[in-house]
Amino acid sequence: MTSHHSKAERIPLLDRSLLSRALQDAFRKLDPRELIRNPVIFVTEIVSALVTLLAVRDFAIGKPSLFSLSIAVFLWLTVLFATFAEAIAEGRGRARAETLRRMRTETLAKLLPNPADRAVFKPVPASELNVGDHVLVEAGDIIPSDGEAVEGIASVNEAAITGESAPVIREAGGDRSAVTGGTLVVSDWLVIRITAARGTTFLDRMIRLVEGAERRKTPNEIALDILLAGLTLIFLIAVVTLVSFAHYSGATLSIPVLAALFVCLIPTTIGGLLSAIGIAGMDRLLRFNVLATSGRAVEAAGDVDTLLLDKTGTITLGNRMAASIVPGPGVTEQELAQAAVLASLGDDTPEGRSILAFARGRYGIAAEKPEGAKVVPFSAQTRLSGLDHEGQTWRKGAVDSICQWAGVENMPSVLTNAVERIARAGGTPLAVARGRQIMGVIELKDIVKPGIRERFAALRRMGIRTVMVTGDNRLTAAAIAGEAGVDDFIAEATPQDKLSYIRRVQSEGRLVAMTGDGTNDAPALAQADVGVVMQTGTQAAREAGNMVDLDSDPTKLIEIVEIGKQLLITRGALTTFSIANDVSKYFAILPAIFVTAYPELEALNVMRLNSPQSAILSAVIFNALIIVLLVPLALRGVRFRPIGAAELLRRNLLLYGVGGIVAPFIGIKLIDMFITALGLS
């Protein structure tokens, strides 16, 4: 959909070293003290242990125990597959954390006892720095900890954090003062005030987040856990009371059989995959170079229905560009374009370059400096650029400056009208003069990014409103808003305006996401439900947001929302699938366990499973295997399509709801045929 996808780091879904590590972790996670966080799987483990004990006892006293043992094996596999799913999801993050940890090598910091005097410093290990200390970093130094530049300017390579090797400028004061521990100073120097305590630097936090050490259950995960625990309890009641019913009916039910029924009915599939889905969601963001400080933020991203987007860089290309020219009386467009090119040769600003590009593209005029011509470079004072050649002069610049330079009081009316029209539409008019003659007007305007309008339309279909935030006046803002197809805009926006807009929209029950980088964005970032801070942003902004974009690319907000939705859809799809699975299991197990008491109940054996034992075993095996089969889906996520909720629901309900009812009938039958063929039962 955008260039970002290609940029996302590709970690193969399952790679060999990752697998073996995950397998070890899966066994380590069997520790009940850790497993208790996951009620469904914890209960499964208890049941597995119980069945194992009984099977071993039967074996010891010489009773037939093969069936109980096979059930025990597959119950344990159910638990193991669940812990394996979590381990493999964590493993992918861990690979990234290892890379980061290598960056955190111990460095010596140059501690300045007196910040004002850069000549006197004391080398101390970075780990002994305290908040508020001042340190000096010079070209070639690694910045020892997070801090704020209080003096100097330097270019810093932040590849350790962002993966982007082009150095960025860091300077005291303003919005580019934050520096990150672990990054490398390439040139010049800075005096830094340390702002992060030991172990709490950005890098530390990033490592912990990536590893999942700080992972807490999100609100929706907690709610889902409650529901899954409730369902487990309901089925516990159903299975325990069955003992009495069966006894009354003259059927004898062994504990392994009851255990098999119980584990097949409780939602082990979603219970086993729930945390893997959550971790994979954060991992997807990370491969996108966005770091979420909590799973909660990713979840909120899916819920966002209002996006606050900065105009510049997100909706429009960074700078204004030449879009059209209006020649004066007696001048052809070709002549005007030629003059504009000559006059712009001295203008190195993006606007100036855009004029050259425009002339080349529209009129085929090459930007060549005539032999011996003298270029007059653009300056902010004169607001002009131009060219002098063989006694002729060309100038281009702001309309009033050009008029003044040319000594013209009134431009021809056709040009005055054009200037007015351009200004009203939110553009910037420039004038071009040759000698004393005003040749025409160039229209510079914000160019809405190609494809952005379609993007917004897709967002609207997802029920998301886009709001453009700009410092432009209302008129200009309205024109661009109309062109880009946003739903609303905030013109002449101050930080306070943003904050109050967010509050107002939130009070209507909406969730808001925004991007920001400056310190004055901090209140709004904190108020927004999802605040994405550019990695280049200030320390204050970084602390206020709940996601950091390591690429500092504000357009990503849209993808972040999609990733959030993808996470929720995956969770919902697998929950639905898991619960729909139950229907088949009744038909597999019930006739099998009651067949001695009421042989006629064989009529319920719609799958025509071979024997009671193979039926029960097949159901248990299916129940275990389905977890492992769904791991790739849990990690990759169900695809999100911006097609509106109703259509999305229809597709997913068909696929995971109806599919969830049908699939196990087929799966259990196949397993039954397989184990019958092997003669296992």
Binding site: L227, T241, S244, I569
Partner: protein, 569 residues
Amino acid sequence: MTIRGWAEILLVLVVAVLLAWPVGIHIARVAEGKRTFLHPLLGPIERTFYTLSRIDPAQEMSWQQYTFALLALNAIHFLMLYAILRLQFYLPLNPDHLAGMSPRLAFNTAMSFVTNTNWQAYSGETTLSPGSQMWGLTSHMFVSAGTGITVALALSRAFARGGLKTLGNFWVDLTRIVLYVLLPIAVVAAFVLVALGVPQTLATHADATTLEGLRQTIAMGPVAFMEAIKQLGTNGGGYFNANSAHPFENPNAFSCILEILLVLLIPFALTFTFGHIVGEKRQGYVLLAVAGIFLLAAVAVAYSSEAQGNPLLTAIGVDATQGNMEGKEIRFGIPLSVLFNVVTTATSCGAVNAMLDSYMPLGGMVSMFLMQLGEVVPGGVGSGLYGLIVFAVLAVFLAGLMVGRTPEYLGKKIQAKEVKLAVLAVLILPLSILGGTALSLALPEARASLAIGGPHGLSEMLYAFTSATANNGSAFAGISADTPWLDTTLGIAMLLGRYAFLVPVLAIAGSLGEKVKVPASTGTFPTDGLLFVGLLCGVVFIVGGLQFMPALSLGPLAEHFALFAGKSF
């Protein structure tokens, strides 16, 4: 099955929906305190009532206050009814000098009528005086029906707007529902029933001489009014032991159709009320559609199973085209009997016009399963609506994520607290139904109540606990219910089924009411279309019903398959 039979069934259901529609809007207006055509007549009574009891109708209640008022009133009514039943001998209008009930039977009966269950472990005509039937039972039928409706109204309001601290005033809601809805309809219905031949008299019996010259005592009493509210309030407690199979409760096909319509009227109407209160009519239609689908499916299973007849009897030469007429009244026939019983078990009414014990196994199972779903399709007055909304909340929570947003129902976010409360409520059903049955089957003393063993015995016991927990009150019969064990445990099952469900529901209402209402957009999970109808049906069936499959397969299913394999128990 015949086309005529189906036409009869569909006609009754369509008329029920057509009648429910205006009544639903009327209830919504009453709930919102708007004036109705009844106000000129009944308004002064309402105001006098508030003045006398010093209630400020404008004073709204938080969910805790609302719950407390409801529970307190129900407790007082329980004690009152218990006292009436115990002290019957000393109270007026007891011409036959009937003695008071035993403590355990009075407990069971009082609980039964306060919880809208109307499980009857006694025979009305031989145990209770006209006085007890009137001010004891009939009056409590209004209170229990009204109580259920108030909870449904409180929950509906919680979805209507955001930031609500209060859910309405319980006293006002109850007063208005009884005064403007239940009483007027019951009075009109009672007159129609009298016209159709139902007695309304203080005499307890008529003496007649039969053609053979034998003297016969025919029991009667103030039946018509009780019959009206018994059906209208989905109560189901009959004046006579034979309930609506008795010719004085239900003399002919017309009265039978009228009684079916009365049962369906308010449960159907409340779906319209819900749509009206939340401001989106389609949301109500969806709930009605779900109820309709289950009703039709249940009728189809029961009708085909009864019309098919008993293969064992067919084998010995009984005409199979008659279907299974055992235990059914000739004046109703199979279609009306089946419809009546499906309707009274799909709602929490529990009235019977045929002997359920004599139904084919699947016919009986349908009734049992409808109750086990929690009485939500459409369920009892009020309780059905709030039960179905609990399932809707669960459905939205389970599948709602699939549209990429955390779940919301009618603009209210469904979060951990609501899920916890909904699970708590839903958990009561298997706990009380399966737990009670399993315990009773294990205890020899309890098992002694069963007249028969095998799967049919299991069905009888399961039916009793299902009926009590679901506050239905319908009886499979064939079980001696008035024993110390069953009186007590079934009484507790009724208590749990009613209040352990209702309190979490009010807590959900409190929690949702406070939440901001998220405006709907194209990204919102649509809960007003066919898709949600299908989803909700699936969730009610899978989450609400499947856990009873093991028990049902040892009861009616085993009996069914055995019967068709030529075996009886």
